[in-house]
Amino acid sequence: MSLVQARGLTKRYGDVTALDAFDLTVEPGRIVGLIGPNGSGKTTALKSILGLAHLDAGDLSVLGLRPEKKRRDLMRRTAYIADTGILPRWMRVAHLLDFMADVNPSFDRASAVAALEKTEVRLDKKILTLSKGMNVQLHLALVLAIDTELLVLDEPTLGLDILYRQQFYDSVLNDYFEEKRSILVTTHEVREIEHILTDVTFIHHGRNILDLATDQLAVEFAKVTTSESGAQALRALAPLSERHTLHGTEMLFRGADQDDLARHGEVATPNLPEIFVALVGDHL
């Protein structure tokens, strides 16, 4: 069964349509990247999955529950980290651990303490005295100490030093990710997570632009670098986009025969930002 099954999610804020019949599926054991520019509806999508936004239309099931109605039950099995700084600043670390242990039966305090021992975060510190990086380490320690099936990350590394960012995704991969668990992550730093994703969903103006498993990217998309004469021939094959660089003309193709392309230039697999820009070019 899918952990997240969203069909036709629609959410309007006055005249602005944040989600426009948006679909999303997260299967167990997948790391799904939800990718789009600011204001594309990413955060609204995540919020509705967590039961924090009220949809105008659409069917949504998360871990078999309707998030809007059953947020409490859902949160026993789901964890959420937003961009830094949502932990209560006035609280001491030890008190936060006590709180978690009280409200969440599946929170393992000892394992959180053990995880924090590997960091600079001391139990008697107030959260407002922690650095941004330590804040994220603490939040991660809390989340990893809960037996959850779904981890939702909303720009989790925003404003972090490069050192912490790497560490963050390493911890998530090594300590959280396993067969039955899934991760849904949004970020504007696509390159940073490109290599860990199993699936991508591109979102723009609240609509799906692309839904694909990452191992299909190289099959589906191709980037050809060619000369001016090669470009002439390639234009007949309906490129998604065309760009002139120092090395010649760069063209992006979807679903084209790669042997055909190779006759006219050098074929490579485009990265996610390149695909996104090529696809969204049509939708601007």
């Binding site: 947020r71 949160m75 026993r76 937003a82 932990l87 209560p88 006590d98 009280d102 969440n104």
Partner: protein, 310 residues
């Protein structure tokens, strides 16, 4: 019930600076004031209200009577001591009210402002549990510290009087303590606050509703909205139901210590006033207040599910 333990502990930890330290600091200020007053004037005026016989609830009055060799009757002595106790309690109740007012206004607002609402909503506690835990904190947990500090002040003042009053007239230490009313005072405070938590429900719930609803200026909304509606009522209907109701539920009439029970009303010599406290349950005001308060709480919970960070 662990969820409730967690939620209430969390509220106490966040607000102990106001709900806990507020009364402790008040106690400290009173102690310092009494000591300075004793050092300079040799006496202390605790309550400036005159009673029926023109006596102030002050240690001065006690000493005067004592020096005049005229031993006050037990009832009269109890009345003087009640005045002193009530004067003390009023100071603390005023402080408590101010603290409760601002704490409630911030409880569903501040966490939206600093975005920690996103964390609180990521734990398995429902919005109803969250909002109710905040009401319970103000209604019945916060008052514990206030009651403790009122009692501490009583004891402090009776110790002071033990050194000051006897030996300067006919009043004895035994007289003083046997009429101290400390036990009655404690019972009054506990029962009074227990009932006041319900009596003030419409006020508390209104503040939580505003705290949950607005994106800015909760104080202005909480205060000016009722004033405007009350004035419209007066202009349109010529009545003052809203203002009267607000005044009624703002009053501390459930807490006997604050309503100045006089000995005249209690032939036994000491009025506990608890009869008046529990009699509130027989009034329609109590039940109308509970219904309106419950509606406000429902609104606060509903808006809590909808409103996130500001």
């Amino acid at each position: 019930m662990n969820v409730w333990k967690g939620l209430l502990t969390r509220e106490w930890l966040e607000h102990k600076g106001a709900l806990g330290w507020g009364p402790v600091i008040t106690f400290g200020v009173i102690v310092v004031f009494v000591m300075i007053s004793l050092a300079i004037a040799g006496t202390v005026e605790i309550n400036l209200d005159l009673d029926d016989e023109g006596h102030r609830g002050s240690i001065t009055a006690l000493i005067d009577e004592s020096l005049s060799e005229e031993i006050p009757t037990e009832a009269a002595l109890a009345n003087r001591l009640d005045k002193i106790r009530h004067g003390v309690a009023e100071i603390f109740l005023f402080v408590f009210f101010i603290i409760a007012f601002f704490t409630l206004l911030g409880m569903l607002f501040d966490d939206r402002k600093d975005r920690s609402v996103l964390f609180w909503k990521s734990v398995p506690a429902s919005d109803a549990e969250t909002v109710l835990s905040k009401y319970v904190t103000i209604a019945w947990i916060g008052p514990v510290a206030t009651i403790a500090m009122i009692m501490a002040t009583y004891v402090f003042l009776f110790v002071v009087m033990t050194f000051l009053v006897p030996g300067r007239g006919a009043l004895t230490v035994g007289n003083l303590w046997s009429n101290s009313g400390l036990v009655v005072g404690l019972v009054e405070l506990i029962a009074g606050f227990a009932v006041h938590g319900l009596w003030a429900l419409p006020i508390y719930a209104w503040l939580l509703l505003v705290s949950s609803a607005v994106t800015r200026a909760p104080f202005a909304w909480a205060v000016f909205m009722p004033i405007v509606i009350g004035m419209l009522e007066r202009i349109t209907f010529g009545t003052g139901v809203l203002f009267k109701g607000i005044g009624n539920h703002l009053s501390l009439k459930a807490i006997p210590t604050a309503i100045q029970v006089s000995v005249d009303e209690a032939p036994s010599g000491r009025a506990t006033g608890l009869g008046d406290t529990f009699a509130l349950f027989a009034t329609s005001d109590m039940w109308i207040g509970i219904v309106i308060g419950a509606a406000f709480l429902y609104g606060a919970i509903y808006l809590r599910t909808r409103n996130n960070e500001i």
